[in-house]
Subunit: 345 residues, 2 copies
């Protein structure tokens, strides 16, 4: 029995989603690190990535770490669909399972905004940062709440899911749902073959060609390629709920800050509305969030800088497992946090 709960939950009664559905009680799971100061001026927001929970963000958080808990109050909200916040797997009744409604990145940001403002009265964020889908939330925060976000550090992600990234996700979805056990989401057992296929398709995308060429998985303790595919990739998704994965995948596919009301689908305009000092860190060999897309987006952000994470880890450079990439990201976080803030634009 846990003496201390692993996370807390902020409840949002009658939470209306962008696409129209209403969750009778939306649950936003979160964890905080550090102490909010009296002026409520030391908050940092660090949303989670696809299929991750707050645990996956903890490598950057702690005393003496880039998100130093001696100094900052770090809030890590869990993505809707991840199994801790409202998800197909934990929502009762007709909105659970395959009946779970479509959730946008903006729904996540809106729930997080209510958490910060209603729970703590926070109106200023020193930093919003996030990896992958966490980066999508970071961009959405910066575009939706320019008055509130002083600094933004999206890494291994983008402000809009590109068409190619969408196709990569279509492949994952098709692989998962090719399993007859999926039963259009009304399964009685998890579609094991589909989850396995999902993981194996993901394996080719998550790391660069050079990572495999150099047999870098051996340094992670896997003796063979097959052992890496099963022991790392399959294991990573084996415990996941298929509908949860599909719900988050939908959110990912539809990420686009240009679709925010007021920007009329004009992504450059949405990027231009960002007032945060923004430091984007794409990963050099990321196969579905390639640096070129971030270089393009960076041109429209008034105080935007793009700095590419070097190396062969591809998308997983953002996960903290590669010491060099972790140090690069950590240094960028420290640097951005110590940069005096001057509102741009």
């Amino acid at each position: 029995m846990l003496t201390e709960p692993d996370h807390e939950v902020f409840e949002l009664p009658g939470f209306r989603l962008e696409r129209g559905a209403v969750l009778p009680t939306a649950r936003l799971a979160y964890r905080t690190y550090g102490v909010l100061d009296e002026r409520r001026s030391n908050a940092v927001l660090f949303p989670t990535w696809y299929a991750g929970t707050h645990h996956a963000n903890e490598w950057l958080i702690g005393p003496g770490r880039p998100l130093d808990t001696e100094r900052y109050f770090v809030v890590v909200p869990n993505l809707f669909g991840n199994g801790l916040s409202s998800s197909p797997s934990n929502t009762p009744g007709p909105l659970g399972g395959s009946g779970f409604p479509e959730v946008e990145i903006r729904d996540n940001v809106r729930a997080q905004h209510r958490l910060l403002t209603e729970r703590w009265g926070i109106t200023d964020l020193q930093l919003v940062l996030g990896c992958s889908m966490g980066a999508a939330q970071t961009y959405q925060w910066a575009a939706s709440h320019p008055e509130m976000v002083r600094r933004a550090l999206p890494f291994c992600g983008s402000s809009r899911t590109s068409p190619h990234n969408y196709v990569f996700l279509e492949g994952l979805k098709a692989a998962l749902t090719a399993d007859a056990d999926w039963q259009q989401g009304r399964y009685t057992r998890q579609p094991a073959a589909g989850l396995r296929a999902f993981a194996r398709v993901y394996a080719g995308w998550g790391l660069s060609q050079a990572f495999y060429w150099e047999h870098h998985y051996r340094e992670l303790g896997y003796a063979s390629l097959e052992e890496f595919l099963s022991g790392f990739w399959e294991a990573n998704f084996a415990g996941c709920d298929a509908n949860d994965l599909l719900a988050m995948l939908w959110t990912w596919q539809h990420a686009d800050i240009g679709a925010t009301p007021g920007f009329d689908g004009d992504l450059p305009r949405a990027l231009g509305a960002i007032r945060a000092r923004t430091l984007s860190l794409p990963s050099q060999r990321d196969l579905y969030f390639p640096p070129e897309d971030e270089v393009w987006a960076g041109r429209y952000i008034p105080d935007g800088t793009v700095r590419t994470i070097p190396g062969i880890w591809g998308h997983l450079a953002g996960g903290g497992a590669d010491p060099a990439a972790a140090a690069f990201i950590g240094d960028a976080v420290r640097e951005l946090l110590t940069t005096p803030w001057a509102r741009a634009g």
Copy 2:
């Protein structure tokens, strides 16, 4: 009723495969273009790619085309497993269907060598060329028969399937076989959901991120991304036999000219044995045969040159559908064929 058969078949009785199995009657389907001259000195060999037939190679062949049939005798042998040559789908008895044995690239080359020497007495090839798995066969030809291959032009392929490429193929395989209708290969109907997943996974790999970013599929006549995924990718594999796809996939995964007896698994040594004037054409944005791998290999080929096909078509640059890439490849073929031949090494 066809008055002229579309292709011919060379039969190899008791054909023993590298991995030990014996095909009682291996069938090598092929088509020829042009006329073999009296000295048997104008032959060109152009093996096929994954899931393609000789038809897919015809864009380079014909009067006035780079493989000018007024001048050259072009032989296009079909890959084992492609449904025309011996394949799971057309092999009777216990070696048919899921019982089809493992076939190596070297088995293909050995059968092709017998076709050329036994059927026509050809002992010199002006050029061997091929795209993707056709490039693997090209490299194998150049390493196994250095005395016979004057020029080699592998495009969008490699001499060894890289670990990342292997993982990409594992993803395709897992997607296809996640469908319960697959029945371990003993299906009574094709696994339609698996074939669909296979196609959708392939879609992300076959073209570059930039191809999708620029919505280039619209220029191919597809109004939307979804229409392109279904109308182009799904349609491309919908008529395929699942076991055929898996048989060719196995061949692809195990391609490695270094594994040729005599080279002891030493790929640089195998590359060093090539005597052909070799011009390798990787495609700039190819996601599973990246140019860097060919640049690496090119260093070991005595008379080897690597020239990258520019553009955003990724792997499909080799297919002939992009006019710019087709012209680039065509020009390279013409140039190589007119280069006086001097045996290297």
